[in-house]
């Protein structure tokens, strides 16, 4: 009996479980607000307008887990989108143009990564700078103009539907991306390195992890995902402009932090980020169906972000057996130390295991 109880407690204490409960709760609330919420077509189409924010959140998760931040992703996506659009307008094949767009966003991510890791500069300051620079660059490339009329075989990737015109094709893109990136994060040596670096960079360096290379790579992943988000964005909205994605950073960062990723690095899961992305989209959809005003919606989403930061801090303290109310911050630091030590050891073991095979 005691064993069952402890399993229940541990399961309940898992962030992902809480997110699933929150999704169910928000579903009931939305259904109470509007009878249209539970229509199958609505449930299937609920994520579609927000998928580009989810794709960016998956990439950003790597950066945050590694203990950094990348706020240049919206500007990065805009540059990728306008370059892609200009190439397409100039007659380049749409898929080739999209591929070049992905290449550009990856390079922009590499620029961030190099400045942060090789030159050892703070990521908040660097990506604040590149956020402005990339945003400006996008306007240089496409000025105030917009490019539209992309071919249907391309726009289907973001805005097409199958199965009786109800199942969005982009749903496969977002689930597929979550699975692939989840595997990279949770089932590879590289992923383990990301956690270790986020927990304690010095310890990671001393244990022989190629810290600089890994840190550059997480920014490149974030850049690439901004590019993929751009491909989906242009597909769904059918319009490429220099202000693409403007005002979406709140939703992206909320998905990452609400997803249980520790804003100080070292903890988080791709499943959590995916669930949080679903929760944010579900809430926005439910509130829209109930005709709740846009400003009220922003208050709810912003409140959720704050609640997630506070609750995440409490939960991590609880998991480490430090539920006693007190200097939480102090408790957390010690936890980080412990986790880091464990992570270093386990990463070494993992490395050895891999070598053994």
């Amino acid at each position: 009996m005691r064993a069952v109880k402890s399993v229940v407690v541990r399961l309940l204490a898992r962030w992902e479980t809480l997110l699933v409960l929150a999704i169910i709760g928000a579903g009931i609330w939305s259904w109470q607000l509007s009878p249209f919420f539970l229509q199958r077509a609505n449930l299937l189409d609920l994520l579609t307008p927000y998928i580009f924010t989810g794709l960016m959140a998956f990439g950003l998760a790597f950066v945050v887990i590694a203990g950094e931040i990348d706020i240049s992703i919206i500007g990065n996506m805009a540059v990728s989108v306008v370059c892609f659009a200009q190439l397409f307008a100039a007659g380049v094949n749409v898929w080739l143009a999209a591929l070049i767009g992905l290449g550009i966003s990856t390079v922009l991510g590499l620029v961030n990564g190099t400045l942060v890791s090789v030159l050892e500069l703070p990521s908040l300051a660097i990506t604040l700078g590149t956020m402005a620079a990339y945003g400006g660059l996008a306007f240089v490339v496409l000025s105030g103009e917009g490019v539209a009329s992309f071919p249907v075989h391309y726009t289907n990737i973001g805005g097409g539907y199958i199965a009786g015109n109800q199942l969005p094709i982009a749903l496969f893109l977002v689930v597929g991306a979550a699975v692939v990136l989840g595997l990279v994060l949770h089932a590879t040596r590289f992923g383990r390195y990301v956690y270790t670096i986020g927990s304690n960079r010095e310890a990671a360096r001393f244990s022989g992890i190629p810290v600089t290379r890994v840190r550059v790579t997480v920014f490149a992943i974030s850049g690439l995902m901004a590019g993929i988000a751009g491909v989906d964005y242009v597909g769904y909205f059918g319009s490429a402009r220099a202000d693409a994605g403007a005002g979406s950073l709140l939703d992206v960062v909320t998905a990452v932090v609400l997803g249980g990723v520790d804003i100080f690095g070292g903890a988080g899961s791709m499943l959590g980020v995916f669930l949080a992305f679903v929760l944010v989209a579900e809430l926005r959809n439910g509130m829209n169906l109930a005709n709740i005003q846009g400003d009220t919606q922003d208050i709810v989403i912003g409140g959720l972000l704050l609640a997630a930061i506070v609750a995440g801090n409490l939960l991590r303290a609880a998991q480490a057996g430090r539920i006693r109310v007190g200097p939480l911050r102090l408790g957390r630091k010690e936890v980080v130390g412990q986790e880091a030590a464990e992570a270093v050891v386990s990463s070494k073991l993992a490395t050895q295991n891999l070598k053994g095979r």
Partner: protein, 341 residues
Amino acid sequence: MHRRKLALAGVVVGATLATALAITLSAGAGTKAGYKIYFLPKTTTIPVFTQNALGAKKAAKELGDTVTYNGPTDVSGPKQVPFINTAARQGYQGLVISTPDPNAVAPALKRAAARGVKVVSYDGDTAPDSRIIFVAPSSNKLIGAIEVQWAYSETGGKGEVAILSATPTSPNQNTWIKFMKQELAKPKYKNMKLVKIAYGNDDPTESAKQTQALIQAYPNLKVIIAPTTVGIQAAAQELQQEGKCGKIQLTGLGLPNDMRKYVKAGCANKFGLWDEQAFGYLATYVVHNVIAGKLTGKLGQTFKAGKLGSFTVAVSDGNKPVVVLGPPLAFTPANIDKYHF
């Protein structure tokens, strides 16, 4: 193992709950007489749209319709898309939209139309194939030209001119600026020189910053034309703070309520706008007639819009089919107290 079983149990409970909810879902939403109309502005954070919505609600009251007013907090076409989607899901018969991004809302509007929603655009037009009729406040050429004429009369036709616009991607702003340049190219304006087009992004703080930059960079500046209600108010405030009222003239498009105290302080003596409530009122009459099947977008069709009188579906600025509200009103210290919006 236990953990997995529990997780499974959780999923089963969740699924059962969801199914139960789906079954108990009643389809009986009370049906009222009249049409359900969704009124979607570029953003709900700019007061002009609230004025449009007040006019829309007056029209709906006369027609026995209901109007829902909602939209995003950012000026963004993509952020309007979820509102379009959910309006269609809720079974609205009509959608009135003003958008900053004509192409980004087009696919969603077409999906809504396929579900039976009649789409009418106003103020910021959408891609022509995604709406039935566009309701324009005035002709773009007239709006652009009249603002330059106001600037002329305020400065005596001499000196440097700057434009304070909203975002560089806003189609109606860019169209008006194009016509301002055309007007300025006429020989009458040979002593007026356009020195700068600044962008305040329809944000009060950024618009004030841009105004300050204009004052500093162009010491001989004689007039600022701000064809945006957000920009002109921020510019008036900035001119007052810098003690430049009367030295630099201010004109453009503004709301009487926003501008009243600056007019009284002598910081703006002539600016204009169409009647924003009448604008929303007219758009609602148009969408009502479209839902009723009386308007299909054919040129030459006529209809009566309540107290505003008769209108004709026509071509305007090379755009069609369009219903035009009329020429802008000019506000001056003499008449501003007659207007309250």
